[in-house]
Assembly symmetry: C2
Homo-oligomer: 207 residues x 2
DNA sequence: ACGCATCACTTAACGCTGTTAAGCGGGTAG
DNA sequence: CTACCCGCTTAACAGCGTTAAGTGATGCGT
């Protein structure tokens, strides 16, 4: 009864989110609106508010879906590789590819409402996919540091610097359509190589 | 006559831009609107359209002001230092400071309309402050490369990777108010040190 | 089977947004 | 003195997120 009702409600929510993703892909984030979403699913605009508190909740759910996919991508890479540093390198490069392949979702996750997840304190209290993906990634970086292939440094700091590097590349690619940017894949490669070398324990002897 | 008229028009434009900057500082980019701007300068909303084509032109002008200040900041650092690598390091760190000190302007310049400057081709044709600042910065990086303190590589690629790194730090600081981010100053320092080391010609001998 | 309540949904509305068309008043040139 | 031009305003359009009120069907208790 109530069980079936909730299930039906959940199904409708998924349907709405699916339509939302379609609009994002077709028209981009800037042209997304509640009214357009409503007309796409064939209901009046206010109906959506019976299933989602407001627009922000829809954006939050889309963020979470984004992080689910991202986390799965990372997990797959980690499972396929043994060498720590090589794994990290692939993860960072895959992050850029993932961001460029899902530009609109990336926009929602990082460049819209800067506090969809609440305060930093609540971020770490609630179990979100964003948090899970981050903690897993940070542990990978910390493991590299502990194993001696990256410099000894606070795991969060090290992880966030490496992330900021690849995030900067994605951000540049997404936001500077007016600027003659070098191929993002090349930028990503140089970035990751540069950072992992600079923050790594140098084992080669140079002049 | 026409001369004085144009001058008066230019003065009014500056007055509008000043009010726009005030609104950005006070209420943030998200709460900026043409109507609010109009009421601040004491005119009806449509009056602004007699001095600016549309909202985008106002944003473009604010971007240009941003780049003027940024460029001046960089020029000052370059003038005060002799050592190429030390200069570049200071410039990159100053970029982060500048971005964090002017968050709303940074938002306008990088995270709003991604093509205020037109296409990449027109970007390099027209003489904008954005272009001037970039070319000057790129030449600094290229000089480092030519002098042998950075690896030999295409100047644009090298410059854009270094920029993407610090841009990533600023972007992270501005857009992740929900995330427990490490102090951006620390991130910037590790980022710049890491990149300049990794992309530099290593002169120290390590095991 | 009837009445009532609940539920899914809609219509109407508020207060915003950027932007355009039309109009109005005053100063100036012919 | 008239006609035009210039600076500015009012009115309006189309859209936005969101809320309050209403409507029609469905299912439940008696």
């Amino acid at each position: 009864m109530t069980d079936k009702c909730l299930q039906k409600k959940e199904e409708f929510r998924r349907e709405i989110l699916l339509a939302a993703r379609e609009i994002f892909s077709l028209d981009g984030y800037g042209n997304f609106s509640m009214r357009k979403l409503a007309s796409r699913i064939g209901y009046s605009p206010t109906t959506i508010y019976l299933y989602f508190k407001d627009k922000d909740e829809i954006l939050f759910c889309l963020c979470e879906e984004f992080y689910v996919e991202l986390h799965q991508t990372i997990l797959k890479i980690v499972g396929e590789n043994n060498d720590l540093l090589a794994t990290l390198r692939r993860v960072l490069l895959a992050y850029v590819s993932f961001g460029l392949a899902n530009p609109e979702q990336y926009r929602v996750a990082f460049f819209t409402n800067p506090s969809v997840y609440g305060s930093p304190a609540t971020y770490m209290e609630n179990d979100t996919m964003s948090r899970r993906a981050y903690l897993h990634y940070r542990d990978l970086v910390a493991a590299c540091s502990a194993a001696g292939v990256l410099i000894s440094m606070d795991g969060d700091t090290l992880a966030q610097v490496l992330w900021a590097g690849v995030h900067g590349v994605v951000s540049a690619a997404l936001h500077t359509r007016d600027f003659p940017l070098v191929d993002p894949a090349i930028l990503a490669d140089v970035m990751v190589t540069g950072l992992l070398t600079g923050l790594g324990i140098r084992q080669t002897v140079c002049i």
